[in-house]
């Protein structure tokens, strides 16, 4: 963005986040009475209309950007001054450049579709209005995160999406397990947010010391050179800031080792899983790295960490996904794994491909989640795939859209996932090296396996559901299946926006050209032949995965036990139990905190209480000595006094009502009385 010659000032950008905020406020404050008086329709109209308008405005912004000369593509909407303290000047301002435009379209577009889907999915819920209030608040926070002009405004959105995620995971809070899942997501995210904050502080502090204190993105980019040669505790500042910010991304984008909250987050309603925990919020970390790409490019060591964490996550999460039986848990681990691919792409400096995968992933993963929601809806709440099967006949539309998205995520040729994932793998090979590529390619094979395992278990074979459920099996209403069809169409088609170089004869890579003003034009520079070979290898891995799933879960010619009992069953148990991440964290962090609390209580009980008791005993002993003296001489006088004290006491005790309200009234009356006295006696002082 340093090259931005001219900034176009507009005044409509602010409405993209503010409209959802307005309807969130309306539904949040008056929702219960609106629901009672006008019914569900009014609530959902209030929720969906502003998101739709936001989407239209985002399209307007996209069109305006496209109409500008390539290097002037920057819209700014300055709303109000916000913070002015010392050399820190932060304004509330929304900006849009080509990268923002992509994110705005994903958030408002896919988000809008999921809003409509939720009308059907949440139908009949007791807290219908509360759901949509938080859903709209989430849209506001996410759009602020994406469009905010400065790191601080981004952080506001960052925290906002975390809050909404917490509230929506624990949406059915009467179930203590679900409420706990919400708390877990919030607490794990806090670890990341802490890093994010430290990153902002360190960045501002260093730039300020160099004479250009700022948190505005384009000013940071212009001054990023000032970080060079600056050290903090012996580490280069650029690397430290990059790592701190990445810690935030690890939390938000569920990378290992902070991925543990995302699978539990599936406790929320399915539209929440689709919108927040698949399509948008979890990609915030990836987007942040894209936004700060100039910093990461100046800190190769931080980028290496990003790439390694990404590749590890992509592979490890995929292995866990293989052994899950809950339809949403499989998708959750698949999301973690796909986010790993995005981080891998960012880490090798292939920002365009990371954002492109984010873009395509929003379509097919959104569709998969909504499809699983449709299945759960039809099965009357059942989520265990072992009790499903044969749904293909009962839910044809859900089946076909689910199948298309599965093909896309598995990387079947010419679907969206094929273009984006192979782009990432090629860049990982060209710039990262063989190890990163191998992890990614193995992950691709596993992805194909567990996704088709899911398709075969859910939609093919005999129905294993109970008599009652089977009787009630039905396709979901149109308000739920139409969004599925739209997203599946996206999963099939949006890949063509980003054609790889070796398919260059089919047309240019539009996506890369669009983001070129932001990211420049870095390339791995692989020959077409190498790219084709890499693609062939990852395709055959995916093919092998599909074939294995077919043999194991469709024809049944290979028994799953061949693998689950391999090497004494240890590898299988490891992935089935998710490598015991939760258990280890529980033992190390949760138990340790509890132990500390217990130690504190013991210290209080025995040491502090011991000292207090000891001094009391000493006092008692001494008083016994003095008591002898007392008895003889002083008692007479004292008894008279004590009688009168007793008398007064019994009168005064009536003041001690024990009622907290009475005390509060007394406090306020006292303060008011003192104020009045002060005004009378010291008037004018």
């Amino acid at each position: 963005m340093t090259e931005v010659a001219e900034i176009t000032v507009v005044s409509y950008l602010r409405w993209i986040p503010l409209l959802p905020l307005a309807s969130a406020a309306l539904n949040g404050v008056l929702g219960a009475s609106i629901h009672k008086r006008f019914g569900e329709r009014a609530i959902s109209a209030l929720a969906c209309a502003p998101v739709t308008i936001s989407f239209i405005l985002a399209c307007v912004a996209l069109a305006e950007l496209a109409g500008l000369p390539e290097h002037d593509r920057f819209l700014l909407d300055h709303v109000a001054p916000w913070i002015a303290i010392g050399s820190l000047r932060v304004d509330i301002a929304f900006a849009a450049d080509p990268l923002t435009a992509v994110m705005m379209l994903v958030v408002t577009g896919v988000g809008g579709i999921i809003h409509y889907y939720a009308i059907g999915y949440m139908h009949g819920d007791r807290s219908y209005w509360r759901f949509f209030a938080f859903f709209n608040l989430f849209m506001f926070a996410m759009l602020t995160l994406v469009m905010g002009d400065s790191l601080l405004l981004m952080f506001v959105g960052w925290e906002g999406v975390g809050l909404c995620s917490y509230a929506l995971i624990g949406f059915w809070y009467q179930d203590i397990e679900k409420a706990r899942a919400g708390s877990k997501a919030f607490i794990v995210n806090r670890i990341g947010d802490f890093g994010f904050l430290l990153g902002i502080f360190l960045l501002f502090w260093t730039l300020d010391a160099a004479g250009h204190g700022t948190v505005v993105f384009r000013e940071i980019e212009a001054n990023v050179g000032l970080l060079e040669g600056r050290f903090f505790w012996g580490f280069p500042v650029a690397v430290l800031v990059g790592l701190f910010l990445f810690l935030g991304a690890v939390g938000k984008s569920a990378q290992i080792p902070l991925h543990v909250w995302l699978p539990d987050a599936m406790a929320g309603p399915t539209p929440v899983s689709a919108l927040i925990h698949a399509a948008t919020m979890v990609t915030a970390g990836v987007y942040m790295i894209g936004r700060m790409h100039f910093l990461y490019s100046a800190a190769p060591a931080a980028l290496t960490v990003v790439a390694v964490v990404g590749a590890t996550t992509a592979l490890v999460a995929a292995t866990i996904g293989v052994a899950q039986n809950d339809i949403k848990k499989v998708l959750a681990y698949s999301t973690v794994s796909q986010l790993g691919y995005m981080c891998l792409a960012m880490g090798v400096g292939a920002y365009v491909w990371g954002i492109f995968h984010l873009f395509t992933h929003a379509f097919f993963k959104g569709c998969l989640f909504l499809g699983s929601g449709s299945v759960i809806h039809g099965m009357g709440g059942e989520q265990d795939m072992r009790n499903m099967g044969g749904l293909r006949r009962h839910m044809p539309r859900t089946f076909w859209t689910f199948l298309i998205s599965t093909l896309a995520i598995a990387g079947a040729p010419f679907t969206a996932g094929f273009f984006s994932k192979d782009g990432i793998l090629a860049e990982a090979y060209g710039r990262g090296g063989l190890g990163l590529w191998l992890a990614g390619a193995l992950g691709a094979g596993l992805t194909a396996f567990y996704m088709f395992r899911q398709v075969f278990m859910v939609f093919f074979g005999e129905c294993r559901a109970g008599e009652h459920t089977r009787h009630h099996l039905h396709e979901s209403p149109a308000v739920m299946t139409v969004p599925l069809v739209i997203l599946a169409a996206g999963a099939l088609l949006v890949g063509w926006l980003g054609l790889p170089p070796f398919l260059g004869f089919l047309g240019p890579n539009l996506f890369e050209a669009w983001l070129e003003p932001v990211f420049g034009h870095p390339h791995a520079g692989l020959s077409h032949e190498t790219e084709m070979v890499l693609t062939a290898i990852s395709l055959s891995m995916a093919g092998a995965g599909v074939y294995l799933a077919y043999r194991m879960y469709y024809t049944g010619r290979t028994s799953p036990e061949t693998f689950s009992e391999f090497a004494g069953g240890i590898p299988y148990r490891a992935v089935y139990n998710k490598y015991w991440f939760d258990e280890v964290y529980d033992a190390v962090f949760v138990r340790a905190t509890m132990l500390l609390a217990k130690a504190g209580a013991l210290c209080d009980r025995y040491i502090i209480d011991g000292i207090v008791d000891g001094s009391a005993t000493l006092t008692a002993l001494w008083s016994r000595v003095t008591g002898i003296f007392d008895l003889g001489f002083i008692d007479g006088a004292v008894n008279t006094i004590s009688d009168s004290v007793l008398d007064w006491g019994s009168r005064l005790r009536k003041v001690q009502t024990g009622s907290i309200n009475a005390y509060l009234y007394a406090i306020v009356a006292g303060v008011v009385g003192i104020t009045i006295l002060r005004m009378i006696w010291f008037a004018g002082v």
Partner: protein
């Protein structure tokens, strides 16, 4: 043009609402919420006076202290409310009068 008075009026309104909330609520959580309002009314005063008196950052620093204090107060307050609930099975402050003389 927005001047000091405007901020003070907002602060007074917030403070009054807080006092009203504290005095009328029977729910212990409601009382805690009222206290938060009162603290934030004080914050607005700090910031507004700081802004219009031309002082350096004194008021802002105090506001930060108040925010931290409010956070600590909420933590302890909620823990106490939880403790009360555990032993009385209610957080209605009218019903809790074990300290009656």
């Amino acid at each position: 043009m927005i001047g000091l008075e405007h901020y003070l009026v907002v602060s007074v309104l917030l403070f009054s609402l807080g006092i009203f909330c504290v005095l009328t609520r029977r729910n212990a959580l409601g009382i805690l919420l009222g206290i938060e309002l009162i603290l934030n009314a004080a914050n607005i005063n700090y910031i507004a006076f700081n802004r219009y008196s031309g002082a350096a950052y004194d008021g802002q620093v105090f506001a930060i202290f108040v925010i931290m204090l409010a956070a600590a107060e909420a933590t302890i307050g909620l823990a106490i409310v939880l403790g009360i609930y555990r032993s009385f099975r209610t957080i209605d402050v009218e019903a809790i009068d074990r300290l009656r003389g």
